[in-house]
Symmetry: C2
Subunit: 177 residues, 2 copies
Amino acid sequence: MTSQTSTPTTIGNKEQYYRQYIYHLSKAFWKAIEDDWDNLLKYTNLSIHEYTILTFLNANGNLTISALAQLGLMHISTAQNASHKLQKANYLTLQKSTIDKRTTYATITDKGRKILGDIEQKWDKTDSTLFEKTTNMSQFFGQEPDFREVAILLKSYYGESLFSQMILEEESLATGA
Amino acid sequence: MTSQTSTPTTIGNKEQYYRQYIYHLSKAFWKAIEDDWDNLLKYTNLSIHEYTILTFLNANGNLTISALAQLGLMHISTAQNASHKLQKANYLTLQKSTIDKRTTYATITDKGRKILGDIEQKWDKTDSTLFEKTTNMSQFFGQEPDFREVAILLKSYYGESLFSQMILEEESLATGA
């Protein structure tokens, strides 16, 4: 073990500290969620991207690949690759627009809807460390954390309209409206 | 455009809705932060992983590769690859432990500390959409959002001790303590 050879660089002013704080906080939040999401999908062959695409299609019936990329915050090539994989597995169909051949629409199939239902049925809250922790928080604070500050920031960052499409509403999940 | 061919699967109960909400919220949060982080590093050749490693080493002097992986929430192979890249660029040195040859310590160099200082100097808050938005929030709410609910959840999820090492304190950033 060598001793420290140089003097720490001061990352010192308040704004720079705040930036580091939210960078690391957000990364740690996403990593915890990603682990839980992987756990949700472990009985399937679906990646998080593929699952996200099916979820948006379930709520919307059909969407263009570029709309899926925008809503799912993916690169267009990621959305394309994931959609083609889902098409091969018969979870969705792809059709070129008759008006503009460069535009491709994805439509979820019954098989696609079925796997979403199966995932929900198999999901067990007690199997999730994350939900154990949010449940503890809700017992302590009287309600589950709604991360309101994050939501306010993101509404402002992405725009109210895109945000409300990205963060699916309870209603749209239930009715597909 | 074909019409919708099947009936939406109900992703309906309150817990399942809540799960979807925090999944998508956290993903959108991380994506916004990641874009800002990329923007911070655009004048360098550093990836987010490499920058994270240098930041932890700046605060701690030296750390094992496995400690870096744990703190930076990376796979061990990601931490190894990033450390080797940083070593090639002379931003850190790597030494095998004399006690246990399987353990490798990384130590930040003066050049490594210098690039962190350069990044801080070049960072311009007005160049960041994210910080424009948090500044707006602080004008409205009287203080910058501290995402307290996220912090409480993550302390509980990762453990208080790991959390406080991962989310670098203002003091440790400034003093390297």
